[in-house]
Every structure is written in structure tokens, then in C-alpha cells.
Symmetry: C2
Subunit: 438 residues, 2 copies
């Protein structure tokens, strides 16, 4: 085959970014819901609704400190000012007290906020309404109310006015915000059914890779992908499972990959380009992972590999990503492909799977590529009238995290744009929301 034909054949194996993303999304489905403790469910969406097992309030509750009275004894609230009146205080009720004593006409109960109002009463007169000197009376004394204009139900939380036992207080799909967690607790839901946090196994391969705590010798490189991908997984609500590093030899690699296939997603980095020691695609094959694509028209990140492993015992599936070993390439592939997969497993709505894209004005020159779209780090600045200005950050290539570490967004230049200039209208892929840029 002439050189050009060979190159063409190589290129043919590559697919477009949009096609690759479509494959990933098609193969990513929400995980089976699981019952977890309410505490573990916070920040996630309910798969099953929550039905209350009690009324709220659970009984007629005093909402202020004062005196529980019979409204029939009182002057109607709509009337004009009335003379002070006296009532016998027959019982003292604190929160937690549950008296069965009935209050008769001309009597009342001294009551604290949070206590059930006793039988016979239907309103609470706040302590501020007692004539001075009688505000402190207890059972056995007489309280004088300087203005007894109160209506039935006043300062009483009526049983069931917020919700009734049997009511669906939180429908399926509700995000468990702090208020929703409080409501679930009140309604008796000690457990909730949510999509579980996907377990994401993370494996860095390459005989040159050493742990971050080591001082690398000549020829060695620290494992930066491991901590970086774990942080990215955790930030999205996944559960990173660190598998450490594996050398470029078939048996250790196969053992590590097999372990990773027990997770919902396996992120392996390194060993996916074209050389002799690219054992990774071969290892995936031997482990029974079905290849969906290998190589995407994208810079950086071209060598990315994606496949799917179906556990033989009906035990679910594992999405398998072979990410490039260079950390910047690895992160771009995470953001473009792994993030949508993880978000799908978490049951996020379709519109939120990918990072949001916006238009911006370029603040300085940037280099693109003829054959592939380029994703490069940039900083964003607010321009006139809510517009954005994208300033390219210094970037020396696919192993360079310096610019990405402080980037607000990727500057996304389409294939064919070899160079963009200051002032050009460009697309950016948002890495942080606006508030994080402050």
C-alpha cells in the first residue's frame, strides 16, 4: 500500500467527535435504583416518591408560647376593642406533654410552643397579651388577658394542614435538597430510593508510571492521571475506586483490568496508541470487552478507546474507556466522553449530560488543526452586555496541565481552522459555572 493509502486507512478508523459521543450516550443507561439511607441520598434525585406515614402537623400544635383557650369564651377577632377578661389556668403544658385533660368554659391551659393544644381549646393567646403580673401564672392561678380578640385556630398549627398521612409529599424525580431531606425525615422516610453513585475504577498503565509520592528517576513519570480522574469522578457524584498503576505486561494488566470490570465504569489511562506495547486494546479483547470505537478526530485525545463489558451472570455492565496516557489528553477525553456516560448512569436529564457550550469573542490568537477539532484551555472574562471574552492560556501540548489547571473553559476550534485571531467569534466549553470564576 502506498504511504498515502495507509494514512487514509488509518484515518478511516477514526470517527468524529459527535459520532463518538452518540455511541457513548447510546451505551450509557441509568443504574438500577437502590434503597439507601436518607443521609446518603442527599443531593440526588428520588426514583420512588415519598409517601407520608403521619399528618403534618401531627396534631393541633401551639405555634406560640401563651394560653390555649376556647374561642367561644373570647371576643370575636373582627369586633372592636374589648375589656380585659380573666381565665382560670388549669394545667401547664410544655412541648412533649400530651394531656388528655379537657379544658372547660372559663378555663385555659398555660402552653408552650410545640405542645398539642388540649381537648376543648381551639386557639392560642400569646403570652404578650396577658396583663402584666399575670403573664407568669401557672396551673392554679388566674390570667388576665388585656385584649381577648382571637379567632378559632389562631396561633394553632392545625393537624394535617401541611400534609396528610398517605399523601405523596415528594414525587419521583425530586432533587433531595436540604428542605426535601427535612420533609422526607418528617414524613417517616428513613430510606429513599435513588440512582446509586456509579463506581468508577481508575487504573493508570505504563511501566514508566510511579506513585505520586515517589521521586521519579530518569525515565519515570508520576501518576497524575489517577488523582486527577478520581477528582473528576468525585466532582460529578461518582465513587472513584483507585486501582493504582499497572506495568506494560499482559498478565498484571489483565489482572488489573479484570478487577476494574467489576465497577460500573473502568477508566484506564495509557497504552491506547499504536505501538508494540499497546497491550491495552488486546487486553480488553481478552477480557471480553466489546470495542465500540478506537480513535476520534480530536486534539488532544485522538487515541481514546471505548467499549462495553457485559458481565456473563446478568450482573450488569461496565463501560470501558481507554484514555490517552498524557494527562491533558486524558482530561479532555474525560470531559467530552466520560462525563456524559457518568451523568447518564446517574440518571441526569439528556440536556445536562455534556458540559455547556457558549459563544465568546477570542481575546488572543490561537492555533487550530486542519484535520481535527482542537480543545485548548482558556480563561473567560465578562465582556460588554453579558458577553464573554476567551483568553487562550499557554499550552505546550498533551502532557501539559499548567494551563488547564486554571482554565475556565476549553476553547473549541473546529477542524479546518488552522488559526483563530483576537476578535473572532468562537465556541467555548464551560468547565466551571460563573460563580466559581469570582
Amino acid at each position: 500500500m502506498p504511504p498515502e493509502g495507509r494514512a487514509a486507512a488509518r484515518k478511516k478508523a477514526m470517527i468524529d467527535l459527535a459520532a463518538a459521543l452518540a455511541h457513548v450516550v447510546a451505551d450509557s443507561r441509568p443504574l438500577l435504583p437502590r434503597r439507601v439511607r436518607l443521609e446518603e441520598g442527599r443531593g440526588r434525585r428520588l426514583v420512588e416518591p415519598i409517601v407520608a406515614d403521619v399528618d403534618s402537623p401531627p396534631w393541633n400544635r401551639a405555634m406560640m408560647d401563651g394560653f390555649a383557650v376556647r374561642s367561644a369564651d373570647m371576643v370575636d377577632g373582627a369586633g372592636e376593642s374589648a375589656a380585659p377578661m380573666s381565665l382560670d389556668v388549669v394545667v401547664d403544658l410544655a412541648a412533649g406533654d400530651a394531656s388528655s385533660l379537657e379544658i372547660r368554659p372559663g378555663s385555659c391551659a398555660r402552653i408552650m410552643t410545640g405542645a398539642p393544644i388540649p381537648v376543648g381549646t381551639d386557639a392560642v393567646v400569646p403570652i404578650e397579651c396577658a396583663v402584666e403580673g399575670t403573664a407568669g401564672v401557672h396551673a392554679g392561678g388566674v390570667v388576665r388577658l388585656h385584649d381577648p380578640r382571637f379567632r378559632a385556630g389562631q396561633h394553632v398549627g392545625l393537624q394535617g394542614c401541611a400534609f396528610r398521612a398517605g399523601a405523596e409529599v415528594l414525587p419521583a424525580g425530586t432533587l433531595l435538597t436540604p428542605a426535601a431531606v427535612g420533609l422526607a425525615a418528617e414524613a417517616g422516610a428513613t430510606h429513599v430510593v435513588v440512582v446509586p453513585r456509579p463506581r468508577v475504577a481508575i487504573l493508570s498503565t505504563g511501566s514508566e508510571i510511579v506513585a505520586p509520592e515517589a521521586l521519579p528517576r530518569f525515565g519515570q513519570t508520576r501518576n497524575s492521571n489517577g488523582p486527577m480522574l478520581a477528582a473528576a469522578v468525585a466532582a460529578l457524584g461518582g465513587e472513584p475506586v483507585a486501582l493504582g498503576t499497572a506495568v506494560d505486561r499482559p498478565e498484571p494488566l489483565r489482572a488489573a483490568v479484570s478487577q476494574g470490570l467489576a465497577a460500573d465504569i473502568l477508566l484506564l489511562s495509557g497504552g491506547v496508541s499504536a505501538g508494540d506495547l499497546d497491550l491495552v486494546p488486546d487486553t480488553f479483547r481478552r477480557c471480553g470487552v466489546e470495542k465500540i470505537f478506537h480513535k476520534v478526530r480530536l486534539k488532544p485525545g485522538k487515541p481514546v478507546w471505548f467499549g462495553c463489558f457485559t458481565r456473563p451472570d446478568g450482573g450488569g455492565r461496565c463501560l470501558v474507556f481507554g484514555l490517552p496516557g498524557n494527562p491533558a489528553s486524558s482530561l479532555v477525553c474525560f470531559d467530552l466522553f466520560v462525563r456524559p456516560a457518568l451523568a447518564s448512569l446517574l440518571g441526569w436529564p439528556q440536556g445536562r449530560l455534556s458540559l455547556p457550550r457558549r459563544r465568546a469573542r477570542l481575546g488572543g490568537g490561537a492555533k487550530g488543526a486542519e484535520d481535527r477539532p482542537v480543545y485548548a484551555p482558556c480563561r473567560l472574562e465578562s465582556g460588554d452586555g453579558g458577553s464573554l471574552v476567551a483568553h487562550p492560556l499557554p499550552w505546550t501540548g498533551s502532557s501539559d496541565l499548567v494551563g488547564l489547571a486554571v482554565a475556565d473553559a476549553y476553547l473549541a476550534l473546529p477542524a479546518g481552522v488552522r488559526r483563530a485571531e483576537a476578535g473572532d467569534d468562537v465556541e467555548v466549553v464551560m468547565l466551571r459555572d460563573d460563580s466559581e470564576r469570582v
Copy 2:
């Protein structure tokens, strides 16, 4: 004292929301920075910069699979097409291999991505450029390159081109994004100095309060504040410390409060209004907590108490919040007062301490109050041209979480607005960002 005078005196003790917030912020200072494992630091801001202990790349690294060559042997990249040339392959180098062999003129090394290029070489020719049949040659063979136009440095990651040992790769203040975590790991930072997660003790008081797993008997109420406040603390990056419940008796309450004062913030709910059993302010005093304010012109949330405890042994301080027992009141006070305190302790910038406020058009009638601002749950909808429409949610009062559980924002009606109508321009306090509303 005549009734009006008494009421006026009570009102005088109350302070305005803005004054209360100013007190809270004035007493909240970032916690002392702590050295934590890199993994624990993710998502937080560096207090101390990270200085690299290695170059990046750490040596001249092959960026593609192919042949490490001497550019002096090659045809200059700028020239026109050249005839194929042959080179002796003298060594095979995989990632992790660190050969000291020098490559002499007319020779080359077979090399894999990630390996150091050997002494004497300064460029990598990708495997795709080998004439078919010679692409697979190893040490001892001869490779033929069909197009030997390469420049020095081509496909080589030059030592130190991203950063040099001794360089500050992440300045103080940098947010530890996934890329920053990867960069820190590469630079040798196994630990980072960040503001620690504030420990927030959470105690629900009231003899009527039972654990969420209990079925409340007559007069009892489930502890919904505990799980709710824990969720709110965790969502902001604090570490909730659940202290459970305490009955309304001096000794158990004092013991629980003393335990809570070991935390950075103590959130106690219940027992802060005006009655006989409001042991809480008294208990705070006995425990040495300095009162800063008690009662704020706010609905719901009026009884809120705030103070500060300074540990006698120079062991730092604890901010103490007495929140109302009713869960909706408690949550409003959390969002308006506790959140800014927690964010201050976390070292967030001033402009982000409080929830963001925006203008909206009211989508339905809403009730305010003459004497206090009212915070009520509402749902937001996008209107014309990026505007917002705020729809009030049903809400029966300070114990009702039903509306708050699905609210996007608080509708904030200022004091004196007894009623607002559909179409009015109103202020809303954002509880979720836009993306969470999808």
C-alpha cells in the same frame, strides 16, 4: 407598663436582617489552614502555593511511537519531498526504559510513546513514516523512512517545557479542580494546605422531638431539623456532626451544648422563643457563649439567636446559632445567617457568602407582613429575554416544608408590603443555580 409599651420594648430587642447578617459576618473568619492529603483537598482553594520538585516533562520524552533519530541525519523539514532513507535500529525503548546508550549517526532507536529519547537523538519519526515491511523492525534491523523530512524536537516533549523544578505551578488561591489535582500530583504535592472543612455540630432540642425512625406518638414530632441541617452543611462543604436530640431540661441540654462547642459552629434548633422552658439562651450563657443578638425582624425565623464561644485554652472559637424549632424557620435562618458564616470559615470571597439575589416578575399573589420582611418559597420560570417569573408555592407556615422542598428560590418581600400581586417586580433569593432547574 401599658401593653403597647411592652410590645414596643420587645420589638426594640429585635434587630434588622442586614444588621444581623453584618454581625454574623464580622464574627466569622476563615479557619486556620491545615495540611491535608491531596485527595482531601479536591474542590477547595489552596492557601499555600505548590512548587514543583521536578521538571515537566522530566526528560526529553517521545510523544509518539516510532523511531528516535538524529535530526542531523534527516532532511530539513522545510525542504521539498525527499527520497526514502535507511537507518540502523540499534535499541528498542519502551516507556519505563532508561537507556544510557548513545545513538550514533546513521542509527536510530525504536521507541514507544512515553520513553526518554536516547542520548544523541533529538526527534521522533512516527511509525507511520516507515516504509511498509520495515515498520515492524526492532533492534538489529534496518528501518526505511519514506519521507525523512523532520525537524529537531519534532514529536519530542522537551524537558521542562511545561514547568521547571522550583517553579510555582499553582499559586495560592487556586481552586483544586481535577486538572489542578493532576498538576499537583505531577509536581510532587502529596499534601496541600487548604482551609479545613468546618465541623458543624447539629443538635435538635425539645422534649417532643423523636428520632426520624420513630413513629411519633401524640405530642411527639420527628427530628426533621437534624437531617435537614446536616444536608445543608454538607452541600456547602462543611462536615456535619450529628448530636441527635436533647430534652428540655438544664443538665442534658448543658451537656449536649458543651459537646457541640468543640465544633467550629454549633447549630441548635428549638427552644429560642420566649417561654418558660426556653432554657437555650440560659444554657448558652452558663456555657460561656457570648450573645451577639437574639431575634431578628424576619418571617419566618424571628427567634434566631447568635453568639460566639471562645475556648479558654486559646483553642479557637465556636459560632453558636440558636435556630427556631420549626423546620421552615430553621432553614430560612440557615440560608440567611449560617450559610454566610460557614462560607466565611471556608475562606470564600465576600461576594459569594450570601445566596445570590435577582429580580423577578411575580407570577401570582403573595402575602407579606407589615413589620418584617417575609421569605416564602417560590418556583422560578424563565420569562422573555432571560427574565425570571416567580411563582409562589403553597405554604401554611413556619413548620411547613412542603413548598420549600421543591422551591427554586425564596420570594423576599420587604417589611411593609402586606400583599404583592401578579406582575409586580420582586426580589428572589436563589436556592439553586439555573442548571439545577432543568
